[in-house]
Symmetry: C2
Subunit: 202 residues, 2 copies
DNA sequence: GTCTATACATAGATAGAC
DNA sequence: GTCTATCTATGTATAGAC
């Protein structure tokens, strides 16, 4: 199981890949301690490598955070854009599924990775590729809300999408208050139901 | 207007109080850059004083953040506990007012101070006095939800209160995405209406 | 009450041996 | 691919003059 064929000289990796060890360590630390509060030394230590070795895998500290952000948001984007185009289900059902999927991810993944979205450092220019992706996700929510409320005036779609998206993301804050521990498994479904109540009767 | 009777030798204060200058600078920087990413040097510079003078007013960097957190959450607690005891209004009306008040504060105050709640550093032991206060606020929400849903089973109250509290706090995230700029003035009312829809028909 | 100066530790990133 | 050693900058906090 360990090493999976990749020869290593020292410091056996837990995951089988040193890069993954670094990402795992970053996920642990950035979510709980913050970004600016974590030194590259502590990050490397948590990954089981020396501080210098970090720079063999990432050219700078913020690149670790960027990689984490992108890989965290990607599954949601894939699911969202699939549901936007999936015309066999009603718009309400598709929005329900998206909310349930996203909220469940945020609530039950081993680490509270959504907390990365909350870091003020995300506003940094060097992390703009992530913000672009998150805007794509928000756009998909807006499309689904629009399909749910075809008769509503235009600006209303964005406002309602903001409410729904916000309700889903509020799972992150709740989990952070709970010390990062996973939330009950019905969290996703409850969020989805509440979202549809915000949308109004079908 | 400036100085308000307090003699100053150098570095005229903008606000009339150096302590307030420090808090203002902390509000600006911690919300936008983060806590660990802000040095005491930059903090002092933004407050218009030397780095050493900071330690005349606060014994350590985290004390600045603690003061900000406590003064940010206090108005919400005062309003919440007043509404919990105010029996002249229906429970729904009181919850509506609380949600509208809190969401409006978060949406329209000059700085996006709610973003302070999102900092991972808030989990630090030295900031536990703030977490205690925030739990008091959450308790008030739960009390009001309980009064709105007297027939619901016990654990349901906490779950619904989490949804409502989360929806209110989602304003922070939305504003952060908007670069910290104030949100439309109807944000509080919209959040309050959506909260009551989550609660269900009266 | 504010400053300059400084102590001392840690920061991010690079060089070069193995 | 990983390390030790190191560079240079910056970090927090304190000492002591004014």
């Amino acid at each position: 199981m360990a090493g999976r064929g990749r020869p290593r000289t020292k410091g056996p990796s837990i995951s089988g890949s040193t890069e993954q060890d670094i990402l795992n360590a970053g996920a642990d630390l950035f979510c709980t301690v913050g970004f600016g509060s974590v030194s590259t030394y502590k990050l490397a230590q948590a990954a089981g490598i020396s501080q210098a070795t970090l720079y063999h895998y990432f050219s700078a500290k913020h690149e670790v955070l960027l990689a984490l952000l992108l890989e965290t948001v990607r599954p949601s984007i894939v699911m969202a854009e699939r549901l936007v185009g999936e015309k066999d289900l009603s718009a309400r059902d598709r929005l329900r599924r998206l909310c349930a999927y996203d909220a469940d991810l945020l609530a039950t993944t081993p680490r509270n990775l959504g907390a990365l979205y909350l870091l003020p450092e995300v506003a940094d220019d060097r992390l703009s590729p992530f913000r672009t992706e998150r805007d794509r996700l928000l756009g998909a929510y807006r499309s689904l809300v629009e399909q749910c409320l075809p008769d509503a005036p235009e600006p209303e779609h964005g406002a309602v999408a903001d409410l729904v998206f916000g309700l889903v993301e509020s799972v992150i804050l709740r989990r952070q208050r709970a010390g990062g521990a996973p939330l009950p498994r019905d969290t996703g479904d409850r969020i989805a139901e509440a979202s549809l109540r915000i949308i109004g009767p079908g």
